[in-house]
């Protein structure tokens, strides 16, 4: 992850222009106009064809100021491992929902390339702000899968320690986490740290007011935030055409004075390349960037949704052919990076994660009802202490009524 990317040096910036905006500075260095730097490339960035072969450079969608070096093999193999774990976690959790062991699980099946790249493009000191569908990204960032699943099984807290992992609590209210990401980046800048913050959202979220406010704040205050929009085609049932009339979601960046790029979200090599460069630019230039990853939610929104009501099976089938796992596996095998032994080991690791999930989620959760009062404030108020005592008495009475002696008396 620490291998550096060379940003091509353009003509030297004249001394009088030192007070340039990041857009003016970076575009001048790249030797292109600010407009060409901000506007996404004509085509989405793609490195692998659907069958997993590396596209010729001229077909990758790159161009002057939009160069994306292919990441090294070690990083790609690590990403592939996470991809396999992510797919397995998605499918295991979907099964656990069907078995009634999880309350809900918004699966990112089909979007795992975006998930994995979002985690692997960051350094340890960076921050990630995910949504409810970004469980795999949180796991790829290093959070214990069992901790991540705590809230989905129906508990009242997010399960993991956001400060330990530098991962925000998964946000359910749409788009609100983008502003948290911007604030976290602002705090880092005020302290002189070179932290980058990656904020995740979906296509539907770009319609929310907080999307506008977050991008605007980030650009005005020149904050190192990478906004990753996973455009998976639908906001529950509503297709992208009903969310936005913009040419692409990446074009929205231009209005805020930041650069936007589109990438094939089912091509792990391309997503990783695009995000790594965005993170590097954000860090070195202290500037926000927007990356739109074009992907597809292969399953329904959640178990409570029926996607046959709003999309054709043929459309789903076509996207299955662009599956990120198959493409990546074919590419890595063709490079000789992945062989049968490595594949077996990686599958085994993923199975172990799935087995641990099954075991943990099949055990009965026993949340302590009294803890509901403990964390509302730093110290519970007098009123909360009274309410806690009240519940404690009810629980004691219930437990006494359930005791063998009481049941004997009842007979």
């Amino acid at each position: 992850m620490s291998e550096s990317i060379d940003i091509p040096a353009g003509p030297p910036i004249p001394p009088a222009q030192e007070d340039l905006t990041p857009i003016e500075r970076v575009s001048a260095r790249m030797g292109i106009s600010p407009e060409d730097y901000m506007l996404p490339a004509e085509r989405e960035i793609r490195m692998l064809s659907p069958d997993g072969t590396l596209l010729p450079a001229e077909e990758q969608g790159t161009g002057p100021g939009h160069e994306y070096p292919v990441p090294g093999d070690d990083l790609l193999l690590e990403a592939y491992e996470q991809l396999i774990v992510g797919r397995r976690v998605n499918d295991q959790n979907t099964a656990l929902v069907r078995q009634g062991r999880l309350a809900v699980y918004p699966s990112s099946h089909g979007q795992e390339a975006c998930q994995v790249a979002a985690a692997l493009c960051l350094d340890e000191g960076d921050w990630l702000f995910p949504t409810y569908r970004d469980t795999v990204a949180v796991i790829a960032r290093g959070v214990d899968p069992l901790e991540v699943m705590v809230s989905f099984r129906g508990d009242w807290h997010c399960g993991y320690d956001p400060l330990e992992h530098r991962v925000g609590a998964q946000a359910t209210p749409l788009t609100t986490q983008l502003l948290h990401a911007v604030g976290a980046a602002h705090a880092a800048v005020l302290r002189g740290e070179d932290t980058v913050v990656l904020a995740m959202c979906g296509d539907g979220a770009t319609s929310e007011g907080d999307f506008h406010e977050a991008l605007n704040f980030a650009a005005v205050f020149r904050l190192p935030v990478v906004f990753l929009v996973q455009n998976n085609g639908y906001a529950i049932s509503v297709p992208l055409a009903r969310q936005s009339a913009a040419p692409t979601l990446a074009h929205k960046a231009v209005g805020y004075g930041m650069a936007g790029e589109r990438v094939d979200g089912n091509d792990l090599v391309a997503v990783l390349a695009a995000l790594r460069r965005a993170v590097q630019l954000a860090r070195s230039e202290r500037t926000p960037l927007l990356v739109e990853a074009h992907t597809y939610r292969m399953q329904a929104h959640t178990n409570a949704d029926d996607d046959t009501r709003y999309r054709e099976r043929e459309e789903v089938r076509q996207w299955a052919e662009k599956d990120p796992v198959l493409r990546m596996e074919a590419y890595l095998r063709s490079r000789g990076v992945l062989d049968d032994d490595a594949a077996t080991r990686i599958t085994g690791n993923a199975e172990a994660v799935a087995a641990a999930l099954r075991q943990a989620m099949n055990a009965e959760a026993e949340p302590d009802p009294l803890e509901m009062f403990d964390h509302v404030y730093t110290e519970p108020t007098a009123q909360l202490r009274q309410q806690r005592d009240r519940l404690m008495e009810e629980l004691a009475a219930e437990s006494a009524a359930d005791s063998p002696d009481a049941q004997e008396d009842a007979r």
């Binding site: 948290h180 604030g183 404030y377 730093t378 009123q383």
Partner: protein
């Protein structure tokens, strides 16, 4: 002279600066006390940062942040784009990443765009992270009427926030509480919605800012501690914030008519000091709640319910309320009919049961 007092000096010296020059207490305004509290918080804690609309160069539309950007730098007190959700949402993110923001909503009704960030994140983050992530954010809201303000500038919105678990809600009513409670709000590890009664901004008291600072440093705190601001024997008048001066005037007038009124100032709505309220009501046997906000489903309604639940056997009269009407805040020329007045409070006192 501290930077805080310098800042106040440039403004024409309402308070902090002259207080530092002279040993004797001099007039300090409510707004000046808030300004000094912000300045001292910036001095005492490097993680404190102040932002909002017009709080930098202009010093806030009520001048509460006057001079802070110039004295402490634009890294620590700065203007944001016009976006209230953005202000609170980025404050949440800053607090997650170690800062202690004190942000300003320009007016009560302009804080509503931020409500999702307040209710869904600011209030809940501590709980949903099992106490691991605390958000020490202060949201300052100039609020209430009585200043001839136009529509959307005079709402009493405290019930929305008081109804939201996880938030603390402070409403200072005096100049010294303005200083002490804003210091306490910023130092609190819980999020605090801090209501500043607009009509009290230019109220004054003879107070020395340096002494106030010493009192705060010495541990004087207000949260969850209601004050009996006037002793009485026949009736307890419970109030807070902008209604306190009106309540005190009414108590004085009632005294002249032979009714001894005890006045309790809540100071903080959350946490609520119902112990002090109920102890007073048990002594006097009668309770009247006065608040400017519309009465339906209000903080006043909560107080009446609590007093009735806890003091029923001490009550010689039904618990009554004097509040604003259940209407959108009226036009400037009509607000006198809406706001609790001395006469309306005296009428309510008359309406109480006084015979056995």
């Amino acid at each position: 002279m501290t930077a805080a007092t310098q800042a106040t000096d440039r403004r024409g010296g309402a308070g902090a600066v002259s207080a530092a020059r002279q040993p004797a207490p001099v007039e300090l305004t409510f707004a000046g006390a808030l300004n000094a509290a912000l300045a001292h918080s910036l001095e005492d804690h490097e993680e404190v940062v102040i932002f909002g609309e017009d709080v930098g160069t202009l010093g806030g539309v009520f001048r509460v942040t006057d001079g802070l950007a110039a004295t402490y730098g634009r890294q620590r007190c700065f203007d944001t784009p016009l976006a209230e959700s953005g202000i609170v949402g980025t404050a949440v993110g800053m607090a997650i990443n170690g800062m202690r923001p004190a942000v300003e909503m320009q007016f009560d009704a302009f804080a509503y765009p931020a409500f999702e960030q307040v209710a869904s994140h600011l209030a809940k983050m501590g709980n949903r992270t099992r106490g691991r992530v605390r958000l020490p954010v202060t949201v300052r809201i100039p609020y209430g009427g009585g200043v001839g303000g136009v529509e959307h500038h005079c709402d009493s919105s405290e019930a929305y926030y008081a109804h939201t678990p996880g938030l603390k809600v402070y409403v200072p009513a005096t100049v010294e509480d303005a200083y002490l409670m804003l210091r306490e709000a910023i130092d609190s590890d819980d999020p605090v919605v801090f209501f500043e009664p607009k009509k009290l901004y230019w109220s004054k008291a003879d107070l020395d800012v340096g002494r106030l600072r010493s009192r705060y440093d010495g541990g004087e705190r207000r949260e969850g501690r209601a004050a009996v601001v006037r002793a009485g024997t026949d009736l307890t008048l419970v109030t807070y914030g902008p209604s306190l001066p009106t309540a005190l005037k009414a108590a004085q007038a009632a005294e002249e008519e032979g009714v001894s009124v005890e006045v309790v100032d809540l100071r903080s709505i959350v946490p609520l000091d119902d112990v002090t309220v109920c102890a007073s009501v048990e002594r006097t046997g009668r309770a009247l709640v006065v608040a400017e906000a519309q009465g339906f489903a209000s903080v006043a309604a909560e107080l009446v319910a609590r007093i009735q639940e806890r003091c029923f056997h001490s009550l010689a009269s039904p618990v009554l309320r004097v509040t604003g009407f259940d209407i959108p805040y009226p036009a400037p020329r009509l607000e006198q009919y809406h706001l609790p007045s001395v006469d309306r409070i005296l009428d309510a006192i008359d309406d109480m049961q006084w015979e056995d």
